[in-house]
């Protein structure tokens, strides 16, 4: 939605497929950011350090810290949603196209089974 507002085109495959996606995300430095996000979720201090050093060298220390903040924020948000069983509500219609592209409903189906 933020991309629509700014009239920017991006490919969303990278969200679900990471850097194995065959399509360019069209987001600057997406490969570096994705590596860092994946390392943080993976939790290996060595892998985090490697990707942190790359991110800092390419985008600057403050961009790395901001990415660390966002990644750790969503480690929290996903747990709130999953632990309280909140419905999508009005977000469902607004996000239908994106959800379809990202195959997000598969996660919900898995959770119900």
């Amino acid at each position: 939605m933020s991309s629509q507002a700014q009239n920017k085109k991006i490919n969303l495959d990278v969200i679900t497929q990471g850097n194995s996606s065959s399509r360019d995300s069209l987001i600057p430095d997406s490969d570096i950011l994705v590596d860092f996000a994946e390392a943080i979720v993976g939790g290996s201090p060595e892998e985090i350090k490697t990707s942190r050093d790359v991110l800092s060298a390419h985008m600057g220390d403050q961009a790395m810290i901001e990415a660390a903040g966002v990644a750790s924020n969503f480690q929290r948000m996903v747990r709130i949603a999953d632990a309280t069983g909140i419905p999508l509500g009005g977000f469902e219609a607004a996000s239908r196209e994106i959800r379809s592209e990202l195959v997000l409903d598969d996660f919900l189906l898995q959770k119900q089974n």
Partner: protein
């Protein structure tokens, strides 16, 4: 005496907003909460960290059907085994939590208010510890508990909902809860923990430091100081996808 959290010794120049927000949570953690004492809240925080070494959690993560694993969780606290199970499952296997499991937790004696306060404590701990790991900072020592009794405050406006837990409706946050969100303008992820309003306050505080102020989240032009909005949402989306989050 609990000291404020500091990132001054970190190799990077960490903006003060992180230390300030994390200190506010640490102060909350050190005090009696709404349904748990300070000592219990700190033990919940300890169990978040111990979950990484729990053998039962390892088995659950590998199992095709997680709830068929009935091994006791490896426990390092005086919390009840049920409380430890809740803490560990939310920490380690959140994507496969189900409404059936949640209902079984209530049937086994935990109240939904106690459950929501555990959720709030676990998610704040996961977020702060994850940030430390990301920037190469040793985990902060947990605070020393202070005396005091839980308030047992339950907002009058909390209702049964489509979520598993009761919550305050989007247009129902009046009176003492009027600060939780702009009335009528919020989403379920903010309302989710409103049965324990202080958990929403911590959510807002941590989100403003780590991501965006809640009032800015729906503004597509809001961005970070060093990352543009697409880069922020890319990181957020990839973390959510790896956690198999449907939301």
């Amino acid at each position: 005496m609990n000291k404020p959290i500091s990132y001054a010794s970190n190799a990077y120049s960490i903006p003060q907003k992180y230390a300030d927000s994390h200190t506010r949570f640490w102060q909350r953690l050190a005090n009696a909460g709404t349904w748990w004492s300070a000592s219990e809240r700190i033990q919940i925080a300890q169990e978040v960290r111990y979950a990484a070494e729990c053998v039962a959690c390892d088995k659950i993560q590998l199992a095709l059907s997680p709830r068929h694993i009935t091994d006791a969780h490896t426990q390092h606290s005086n919390l009840s085994p049920l409380a430890v199970e809740v803490v560990h499952n939310i920490t380690r296997d959140q994507s496969r939590l189900s409404e059936a499991w949640y209902k079984s937790v209530l049937e086994r004696g935990m109240t939904e208010e106690q459950y929501v306060e555990i959720v709030g404590t676990v998610v704040a701990m996961v977020s702060i510890d994850s940030f430390c790991l990301a920037i190469g900072q040793p985990l902060h020592p947990l605070p020393i508990p202070r005396s005091g009794e839980p308030s047992h405050y339950r907002p009058d406006s909390a209702r049964d909902s489509e979520a598993w837990v009761s919550l305050i409706p989007a247009d129902g946050n009046s009176g003492a809860e009027s600060d939780l969100w702009d009335t009528g303008k919020t989403g379920y992820v903010v309302q989710a923990m409103s049965l324990v309003p202080d958990e929403v306050r911590t959510l807002k505080d941590l989100s403003a430091a780590h991501y965006l102020a809640m009032k800015d989240v729906r503004d597509p032009l809001a961005r970070g100081d060093f990352l543009d909005r697409q880069q922020i949402e890319l990181v957020a989306g990839r973390v959510s996808a790896l956690n198999q989050c449907y939301y």
